[in-house]
Symmetry: C2
Subunit: 188 residues, 2 copies
DNA sequence: GGGATAGTGTACCGTACGGTATAGTGGTTG
DNA sequence: CAACCACTATACCGTACGGTACACTATCCC
């Protein structure tokens, strides 16, 4: 009976499945068994609904992965733990993760992709900081933190995306393999 | 004066910038300085226009990268050449590549993402075949071709996407670094 | 010249879009 | 009791959507 939460749940489900632009406000309201004015009472606009959705879920994502990104001298351990945190979060919030992924490299002028930009930036900052911290112990990293951050998150997101879309069957060793390959390449 | 080509150019530009669902047929026709019936004469429907767009450009992409994926005993060389082919193609067709990327991990039930699925599959097949061919010389690869194909293309696409969207400045060594990291990891 | 054919413009179809004015409802607070 | 306030339903706004009927023109082949 919590209409607000209900609207957010249905909106997330529909946005993730069909894309933000392809889903109408009416459709969301119908799915949540409320009428449009109710939706507009809580969120003001369709874009406001998306913003709220992104904020709630990205804050949860950051909260879930930030502790895992805490570098304490063991880079492999941290990377493994972090990838695990991402996979776990994606598994628990598959719809949000799918939505997020679709916006990550989405059309750069669509309002939905613009809305996700600051959150993507915060994630990247988290990773750059991790590699910067690790650089104190691995002196030979200078200038490469950004590339590492980008490719690490890219690799994690690629695998999560392919699993979520059913193009790749998940397996127990996937996280380990992914991180191992990131660190040592395919020649090992 | 070539209306058909004009419509395709403008549609590609608009789809890449705002997304397929967010662009109206009227808008495309106006940008191409024709009227809607002209567009419908050539393409039958909005979806037909997208399909044609994808077919033409994906065939060009496959033609551009297939020779580079021809394995002749030197895997590093092949991977380097192939990544270069992808980057070159993306640089020459930035709008198509952006569109393609936005659909790659896009909402899995949207018709635009469904339209790109078979082409993504053909690309992946190309890469799996490459790693399978290489496996004859690198016997220790069994069962990992798919993971390699997926992560290789994921890595290439991640970097191209970030460069195309301006999140990462392109550099001369980028392709080399990317492939080197794919083969040897960050610990080298 | 005459008939077919590809291509294009005018005007229009029904529907769905995002959003809102207005009038309530029920419960809480003075 | 009365004023208030968060919330919800009916009914509607103007606009844009994807798509089309139809008439017209230019070109080409006979």
């Amino acid at each position: 009976m919590d209409n607000r939460q209900n609207i957010m749940d249905q909106a997330l489900r529909l946005f993730a499945a069909k894309g933000y632009e392809a889903v109408g406000v009416e459709q969301i309201a119908r799915a949540a068994r409320v009428t449009k004015p109710t939706l507009y009472h809580y969120f003001g606009s369709k874009a406001g609904l998306l913003d709220e959705l992104l904020q709630v879920n990205f804050l949860a994502l950051l909260e879930a992965v930030r502790p895992a990104a805490d570098y304490q001298g063991d880079l492999p351990l941290t990377l493994y733990r972090l990838a695990g945190a991402y996979f776990d979060f994606a598994k628990q919030n598959p719809e949000f993760y799918r939505l997020q992924l679709s916006l990550w490299l989405g059309p750069h002028q669509s309002e939905s992709s613009l809305a996700v930009r600051p959150w993507a930036h915060r994630q990247q900052t988290l990773l750059v900081d991790l590699f910067l911290a690790a650089a104190r112990d691995h002196g030979n990293m200078k200038g490469r933190q950004q590339r590492y951050a980008v490719s690490y998150l890219g690799q994690v997101n690629t695998f999560i995306g392919l699993v979520l879309n059913g193009f790749l069957e998940p397996s127990d060793g996937m996280v380990f393999n992914l991180v191992h390959q990131f660190m040592h390449g395919i020649y090992s």
